[in-house]
């Protein structure tokens, strides 16, 4: 399994755990959505930054 798989699983289990603590599944769902979207946005930003660094070095 790749690293993103571990991250998604960790976020899902964390969402379930917090939903269980609050006794509200929707809290868990919102956390899973926010967590996963945040990870995807961060990875997108990181990739773009790396790409722009590469382009600058080529120049």
């Amino acid at each position: 399994m790749e690293s993103w798989g571990f991250i998604f699983i960790a976020i899902a289990i964390l969402g379930l755990f917090i939903g269980w603590i609050f006794n509200n599944a929707l809290v868990g769902v919102v956390l899973i959505w926010v967590g996963m979207i945040a990870v995807e946005v961060l990875s997108f930003v990181k990739k773009n930054r790396e790409r722009s660094h590469k382009t600058k070095n080529e120049y």
Partner: protein, 353 residues
């Protein structure tokens, strides 16, 4: 209170949901990955978002049918007295699986064993069909071999509900064929008017991803109950949305850990279809499953997808993979009866017959 047997049932339910997530995720995301619109990572990401949403918002429909619709007590008052005598919480009406929780473990395991066997031999069995058969088998065993007190409460396999479910199984591929046929007609005629190839490609991409997300949503709403439906039967007082979230998380774990190869394989098979074909088949399947979720019927997403592909094939005047389809209906018919027999025998053994 969480008891040891409930923990065991939760563990078995997690395993079953994990299995469902790893094997059936490809039904939703295969097309998008195969046509290179999405990477596997992005596909699993979208799947996770929509499975969890479908499970929590609409998972309760089918969960109700599986937990107390098929096997129940005729005499609820006698069942409550029986549960009180056994020091079982009666916050909610007990089901036969509440009184004999080992039957819930056995039924879920019987369904999982059959699914794993079929997967090993490359046969397309459905988790929903397996579980309904297993629940019925376990219910029959409880009714026949249960103690005098259980028999007095009247364990009953609801024949009319079972018949309704059988009809919904037959109607699933037929409905998907009809919807896919309709969508293909509408989509191909509408999209023919667009001449710019770049615009057309973008529209195809958006439509494919949107229908994949919808399919993932209905997958969550329908299939979450196949994994954890019997957990609710064993403890009807559990919080249903939280239980659905538990099942959905198990499905996400399965999809993230094991679905990559399956998604790639299915994706390659499906991409031989044109984009509008794949989109129509997928949307037809998703709408059919969603309709049956609203009717609280546990159907198979895989069968709906097969129906969708056949429906589009009919528009084009060709039956897709006619020879391969030969074995599929046989497995569809056999599955509930095989799991019923396995579950009946195992429940009888565990009840000490």
């Amino acid at each position: 209170m969480i008891t040891l047997i409930l923990l065991v049932i939760l563990a078995v339910g997690f395993f079953c949901s994990w299995n469902i997530g790893s094997h059936d995720a490809a039904n939703s995301m295969g097309t998008s990955v195969g046509s290179r619109i999405l990477t596997i990572r992005r596909a699993v990401f979208l799947l996770a978002l929509f499975v969890v949403l479908g499970a929590v918002l609409e998972g309760h429909y089918v969960m109700g049918t599986l937990s107390k619709g098929i096997v129940h007590f005729d005499n609820e008052n006698a069942a409550i007295v029986l549960a009180e005598n056994m020091n079982i919480s009666t916050n909610a009406t007990p089901t036969p699986f509440t009184i004999v929780p080992i039957a819930a473990v056995v039924a879920t395991l019987a369904a999982s064993i059959w699914i794993l066997t079929c997967t090993y031999f490359g046969l397309p069995a459905s988790t929903g069909h397996s579980l309904v058969g297993a629940i019925t088998g376990a219910g029959l065993a409880i009714g026949i071999f249960g103690s005098a007190a259980i028999v007095t409460a009247g364990v009953n396999v609801n024949a009319s509900k079972f018949l309704q479910i059988l009809v919904s199984w037959v109607m699933t591929p037929i409905g998907a064929i009809g919807f896919a046929f309709l969508f293909y007609h509408v989509a191909s005629r509408t999209l023919k008017r667009i001449k710019n190839i770049l615009t057309l490609n973008r529209i195809y991409s958006i439509m494919t991803v949107a229908t994949a997300c919808y399919m993932a949503y209905t997958f969550g709403a329908n299939d979450v109950s196949h994994g954890v439906g019997l957990v609710l039967a064993a403890d009807p007082a559990l919080n249903i949305p939280l239980l659905a979230l538990f099942g959905a998380v198990a499905m996400i774990c399965g999809a993230a850990m094991y679905s990559s190869r399956m998604i790639e394989t299915i994706g390659k098979k499906i991409t031989v279809l044109a984009p509008v074909t794949a989109f129509s088949a997928q949307l037809g399947a998703a709408m059919t499953v969603h309709l049956f979720v609203w009717l609280s019927m546990p159907v198979s997403t895989s069968h709906a997808v097969v129906g969708g592909v056949i429906g589009v094939g009919l528009v084009k005047g060709s039956l897709v993979g006619g020879r391969k389809l030969g074995r599929i209906p046989l497995i569809w018919v056999l599955t509930p009866f095989v799991t019923m027999a396995i579950s009946f025998a195992l429940t009888a053994i565990f009840m000490g017959v």
